[in-house]
Symmetry: C2
Subunit: 335 residues, 2 copies
DNA sequence: CTGAAAGCGCTTACAG
DNA sequence: CTGAAAGCGCTTACAG
């Protein structure tokens, strides 16, 4: 027979184990499902299972139990080191919880809904969307079947649980510090897309300037990356007069701005001060010493898994909104 | 009723759709499963499904079909930017294939087996392990049920499909270039763990030195990170005499070494040349200009998904070993 | 404590 | 083309 060489055994099922052990399928199910079984039978089942290499089919089991122990992680924004780090820790935490992470990248905005539907198809127990949001129609559909939904770094009107950095406060912290340093021409360097965090950080910056009767000196946009920050900074610093301080949307862009300043022979922080956002590990590297607004990951992940656990345990648990508190980390790109 | 407020609707099943449309469950199954249905019935089913928000239960479906469209991605090593990038692209490619990625981080070596078993429980169609390997016992168990297994950046004796950079060749490329530059005291800066890639890169380095009658000048170990590279470089450069070239296990460690050289007032590349490995984006940043061995991600991911597709289409497909060709990228940390 | 039976939501031969 | 029935691998009342 042609296929004789790679004959694939059928997966072993509870029935096989039951037959070998000389017990009923129920007995097998009970020894693995934590039911009531006598020690004698349990031992026989375990022995047979070991011999056969049996493991309960989680898929079949979930069909009955109503839960899959699957948690969907929909990645709407992975273009920042900070979000990547959060996702990594989140997946680790989910795994540590004894659940499995079904990871679905959604490049475009429209894909987020599609990803949520995929998650839905696999009967996931909960869905977390990182850096994006789901359309109201889908939110409604998800809620109707009682699947908890979590939004990280994106707030919605209401009804959906969200965990986000207090970006407004972060923008204020940056502005306040630059103002206190005596800077007069404060600029905002950011990405073109008006995402939730972008709007909020800008809002905080403007509000704090307004509080002391100042206005934004300039604003420039670039791709959300080192290169984008570099180019936008060149644009900003070519202005007449150039800014004496730049608050950047995130650390990668700030690092690009730092490079631009170096190339334009501008002293940092004397000629121009730089503040980033997130406090990624690289910000602390000695050659950079980037002053930044810390956007701590661990508390966010802790809240996320804590709330997943809570909502899973009690479907009637109230939906909450959580704000992560940012803080200023002063290094060498500010006076 | 207390629970009246948050009454959760039952998920809608094919039966509900069938009832509303006035057809059999089979008809519903056929319209969604690509079977033979008349246009009249198909239209009625679609209408009913839309109204009810019905989506076939992928879990239940897989119980029959024998495939889940789930691909497990077991992450055994995520402590390098390069592997993180590869994992990200791999997950995207799997999703693009119409499959779902079940991502399981395995921090310790022993956890890899456990993770494979979890994957097994969820009846995944294929398993890929990034930067680690599975014990022979589990490999055997996986093979017996015909689940394709792929190992990235880790080779095994035989029988298992592996995709890996030609690390020996990479080590040789680095050594050859440094020798050609006239360097006489070439050191290896690496992590303590003798992982597959570590052993192979070192082997290539030594082989190339041996070819011209040279030996390794020194070797130092540090944690696999910027800081680890920094510290190991300090150790190396405090030697008498210090090396005039250092080949580093990867780019992050090389960047740490670059920082160490700067602090020790050693000119790069005049006093000491530096070569990294992987060619992560940061290596090309203007302030670093790190010479490195490119370990391209895209070909690796392409091969990976191509082979997943092939093995899934034909369970009898032969198992292959794939070598990704590295190349030298000369920037400013070498003459 | 134990087993036979029903059922989770689906698909797929089997008759018609 | 269509529907009733069997079955995927499991769990969970139901009797004994």
């Amino acid at each position: 027979m042609r296929w004789g060489l790679r004959m694939v055994q059928h997966r072993v099922s509870a029935k096989d184990v039951a037959n070998l052990a000389g017990v009923s399928r129920s007995a097998v199910s009970r020894t693995f499902g934590g039911g009531q079984v006598s020690e004698t039978i349990r031992a026989r089942v375990i022995a047979a299972a070991d011999q056969l290499g049996y493991r309960p089919n989680a898929i079949a089991r979930s069909l009955i139990g109503g839960k899959t122990d699957l948690i969907a992680v929909i990645i709407a924004e992975n273009d920042s080191i900070h979000n990547r780090l959060l996702i990594e820790k989140l997946i680790a935490a989910i795994t540590h919880l004894g659940k499995r992470a079904l990871v679905i990248p959604a490049t475009a905005d429209s894909d987020i809904d599609e990803s949520a539907l995929y998650a839905f198809d696999y009967q996931v127990d909960a869905i977390v969307v990182v850096g994006g949001t789901v359309s109201p129609r889908i939110i409604d559909q998800i809620r109707r079947v009682g699947v908890p939904l979590f939004l990280y770094e994106r707030a919605t009107g209401g009804g959906t649980e969200c965990i986000t950095c207090d970006n407004v406060q972060g923008g204020r912290l940056a502005a306040r510090f630059l103002i206190r340093c005596g800077r007069k021409r404060i600029a905002y360097l950011t990405k073109p897309r008006k995402t939730f965090s972008n709007i909020q950080r800008r809002e905080g910056l403007l509000a704090e300037l307004d509080d002391v009767g100042m206005t934004l000196h300039a604003e420039a946009h670039g791709v959300q990356s080192f290169t984008g920050g570099y180019q936008a900074a060149i644009e900003l610093m070519s202005g007449a007069p150039p800014p004496d301080a730049i608050f950047c949307f995130n650390d990668e862009m700030a690092l690009g701005a730092l490079q631009a300043a170096t190339e334009m022979k501008l002293a940092v922080p004397d000629d121009v001060a730089l503040i980033g956002f997130d406090d990624i590990p690289m910000a602390g590297w000695p050659m950079f010493g980037l002053t930044t607004i810390s956007n701590p990951i661990d508390p966010a992940v802790d809240i996320l898994v804590g709330r997943i656990t809570a909502r899973l345990a009690d479907p009637a648990a109230t939906v909450e909104a959580h704000l992560i508190t940012p803080s200023l980390v002063v290094r060498r790109t500010t006076p």
